[in-house]
Symmetry: D2
Subunit: 346 residues, 4 copies
Amino acid sequence: MSHTVAVSGASGYAGGEVLRLLIAHPEVEIGAITAHSNAGERLGALQPHLHALADRVLSETTAEVLSGHDVVFLALPHGASGALAAELESRSPGTLVIDAGADHRLESAQAWEQFYGSPHAGTWPYGLPELPGQRRQLEGASRIAVPGCYPTTCLLALAPGFTAGLLEAQDVVIVAATGTSGAGKSLKPHLLGSEVMGSMSPYGVGGGHRHTPEIEQGLSQAAGEPVTVSFTPTLAPMPRGILATATARIKPGVDAGRVRSAWEQAYAAEAFVHVLPEGQWPSTQSVLGSNHVVMQLAVDAHAGRVIVSAALDNLTKGTAGGAIQSMNLALGLAEQTGLNQQGTAP
Amino acid sequence: MSHTVAVSGASGYAGGEVLRLLIAHPEVEIGAITAHSNAGERLGALQPHLHALADRVLSETTAEVLSGHDVVFLALPHGASGALAAELESRSPGTLVIDAGADHRLESAQAWEQFYGSPHAGTWPYGLPELPGQRRQLEGASRIAVPGCYPTTCLLALAPGFTAGLLEAQDVVIVAATGTSGAGKSLKPHLLGSEVMGSMSPYGVGGGHRHTPEIEQGLSQAAGEPVTVSFTPTLAPMPRGILATATARIKPGVDAGRVRSAWEQAYAAEAFVHVLPEGQWPSTQSVLGSNHVVMQLAVDAHAGRVIVSAALDNLTKGTAGGAIQSMNLALGLAEQTGLNQQGTAP
Amino acid sequence: MSHTVAVSGASGYAGGEVLRLLIAHPEVEIGAITAHSNAGERLGALQPHLHALADRVLSETTAEVLSGHDVVFLALPHGASGALAAELESRSPGTLVIDAGADHRLESAQAWEQFYGSPHAGTWPYGLPELPGQRRQLEGASRIAVPGCYPTTCLLALAPGFTAGLLEAQDVVIVAATGTSGAGKSLKPHLLGSEVMGSMSPYGVGGGHRHTPEIEQGLSQAAGEPVTVSFTPTLAPMPRGILATATARIKPGVDAGRVRSAWEQAYAAEAFVHVLPEGQWPSTQSVLGSNHVVMQLAVDAHAGRVIVSAALDNLTKGTAGGAIQSMNLALGLAEQTGLNQQGTAP
Amino acid sequence: MSHTVAVSGASGYAGGEVLRLLIAHPEVEIGAITAHSNAGERLGALQPHLHALADRVLSETTAEVLSGHDVVFLALPHGASGALAAELESRSPGTLVIDAGADHRLESAQAWEQFYGSPHAGTWPYGLPELPGQRRQLEGASRIAVPGCYPTTCLLALAPGFTAGLLEAQDVVIVAATGTSGAGKSLKPHLLGSEVMGSMSPYGVGGGHRHTPEIEQGLSQAAGEPVTVSFTPTLAPMPRGILATATARIKPGVDAGRVRSAWEQAYAAEAFVHVLPEGQWPSTQSVLGSNHVVMQLAVDAHAGRVIVSAALDNLTKGTAGGAIQSMNLALGLAEQTGLNQQGTAP
């Protein structure tokens, strides 16, 4: 039986990717497609790669338009989904609401207010089923907060070591590179093609990046103690992809074999997360457009650290793919339904 | 009922793309995967984006290994498929053989010998169902020659005007840009990333390009008279995609409306070929990884020419997607089976 | 003796490139640097690559600020330089004014009005010294119209054949690819890095491109008769560079040797324009950041056409380098002064 | 008075960049240009961007050919310069020899043998004049070891903090991205344009990278105690540029103002190294083709770390520009001679 699905924010990159995956999903029927400033336009003019929906016209993003569907995806600027979700709750109580924005990810209202400067909208089940215990929370859920693309990468990279008690909670350092779609479709000079091609640059350096508390929240849960992270994001000359280099100090007496084994066991049963054979390194190209995550790790005995290198597609596993994987769990579908895309390479 | 399929040349770009699409195809089961110098290696080491087949090991490309499947894809260097196809015919007479190489595309043995310098292997049904009368030839076929990626683009761009008798057979000029995967995985200095990024360059200028006779063959069949083409390919700094700018002189008295109408009618019923609404221009990004073709056209009254701009993915519709579309026709499956991928953008 | 130079439009790509080259020019002293909406800002914030001028603050673009210099470069949106030039003439009569914009390039007021929709500002000496007779017009000039980057490429590509009377005036077809800096720094969605990387697309197809009349003007002067051009520009995923593929029908009885010889003789004495040895093809990377132009040509006897492939840097020889080369001639300096940059490759 | 200069390894990227800069250098005359497997070929065929030297033919790399020049640049594979330098010493005792390879950088013979597996050739003055006390060692030197491109970036990024005694010697973590030219011109599959465009990947993860001992050597000298570094290099989809994210723990009681001030003072008098104004972040594009280094730093009080982001061009300041800057010091020329190129942007 097919589920009806509505997608808001359909003119943006996250909304477009949700639609791309839904078109290939065998158990859903795409209902309302909405946007804000682009309401009334043909989808084909805004997302010319979505050939199957080229002639659909965008509706206005309102609770009225979105209500009545089995599932609603919110792909809105942060701060916008709280009120809309509340109105949806009253109008359309049985609807599964999946928020691809940041509003419902953080458990700490204080952290939310510090980094986003607005009242906290609440905390929803966190859509990263590969974290310990998380899959169960998503089965049958009616509200899902899709993790940020950076936190997805960083948590998958380091959680196994913290869960297994192998890593020290201090001095975690993560440097990640993202493709430009991670910065969205906004018209800013530094996002022009002329500026980004052939160039790498950092942004939000020094602890101010909004993804830091979300990364620390997940790693602290895995560790069972507060984890402190130095996180630096950089912008790379590619449209999609995240490559994270995540390092942490290994506790005294832990050897390389035990480290490797912790990661391999953590993901042995996972369909989308792969610890590569030794000697093979991840590349973002190998996961482009897919829900897969590839990683490799090495123990640097000299520096006393594990270094994990993890790659995923920020729009797929980092956003829309993770959202649909969570939707599958919430609806009782097989977790991989509609997500059999391989990477598109070269 | 599922069909068993074998893929040769699986370590290259064309073979990898055939596999990527077959993984998503609901009516096939992937059997032998073969290569030449990489036989014995894990597919995951050579095509790390094909997660579903990462642990498969490549066999040697021989008729023995390939025989016994319902379908065999040949993705081999030119000149290599003739003998192998002959041996397959005797060993495995019922097998559908689909040649993604050049060997069986040209009808003129003389043109083959002039451009390729070896004996002509014969002519097979041409796997471009959108050309007039071509779809019927593929239904139930047991041998299919997959068109080259440039000819696919150029023929789809100009055939409607020749079929409708609107264009002059002389002075056709086509300039096309291709991504680097069009040049294959061979280790040549000018294909290094350091050389191609940020750079455009032509190659094979002046009529010597091997795709010219194939383009002229198809346009001449559409026109019913010999068509002469000046074709210049260029290499663009992107992994995939072809953008062709194809121009031809309009016959006296033909107006712009009649021209536009010829193209729109030619593709009105096609699932994969789209004449865009006026004012919207094609981009290769919008078809990345998909079997779709987008085009736009304009009549330049000043120069007396129609200019058609057409974009497709050289590895998908230009090679592997076109091959699978033709396979579907030959096997009696719905033509779009397994080809519902949208473009991967941005 | 050093010449004082002012540069307007210094926050844009053309103005930035003029400054980059002036910094390396041994005979000039950089005076006023002006902009419009960015007046009052540090140049280092807008053009971070111009380390030598990082702490200079932009002035407002007015005739008052610009007057009193020996040379003024105008790098303004089209339509803006006419009035400013007139005011400069009265305030600062001895100043050499070099217009990098379109306003003073076209000789035909009618063509200007048709393509730009505003009154024609007049015609200035055309800053392309490699065209026959043009160098003399620039020596000692007090006003110079810098050619467009596309016309520079196309005229250098085809002028030798028309000057030598070898080409037919009808059915010239030119397809050119440009890097995104050719579209300027304006904030348009299709110029975002996410949209342009990995993608090629055409624009202004069908004769409507504003550079067509400028190309036809120059080729007609070379031919001594009206030349008609079909010109299609495309946008390539690179910041800089133009690769033009220019083709024209060869007159009956003209052989390949005579064709090659015409081009080689035309540029034998030129410092910046190079016909490459046979077998070597141009690439935009090989001229990046330099004032050089490289080209190769082939006669396609089958199609009866010459095909010329020419590459230059749209911001250097296509704009700022050409402007400074012309300035040198006007000031009586050696033509190559300050222009000894080689291409920056890889 | 002009100095004669010979360049070996002229067919590679480092050798090509040395030549590019020497062409613009007012105090040198380019003598022998040599290569190994490409000896006998036109430079124009191998380095088509070096228009000024296009017709020069490469000689064989031998001490005989190189001797008799005032300066010899060695841009050879590691392990190749030791014997050649020894032979040059006897044949041409007064010649300044500048080794752009790794052979003479490390002071520890043991570290050399561990990472390179061959006998240590000795230690030469280290060509990074911006390190404390280093400039004096280069003035009048007759042998110079050009630092590696990664060490140049990492040492400039962190040395000021160690020199000022503000940073802890343990737990330094550096993640750096380099353009593909950093991997040289070798024909390896993972360096093909099809593989690198749109993709990021790590390499040499886990302490095994050969640049680690060189980075530790320089930071330890600055700190006056042994510094341990976790260094991870990644490959970015661009031809040139390095962006390093370097982090270290701040000693207790050190505040952000003191940190910033240490960096600003360290480089206040430097012509090529720039601490950007607060709020402005470095990009590799802004230094492309120039000898400049830009950096920004932030104190992350939460994590107790300073994070320095530094960008340079791996072939210019990272190799050839640094080599020529050192040559200027050795020859008694002004340090900036011939190095006034600004970044080439966009």
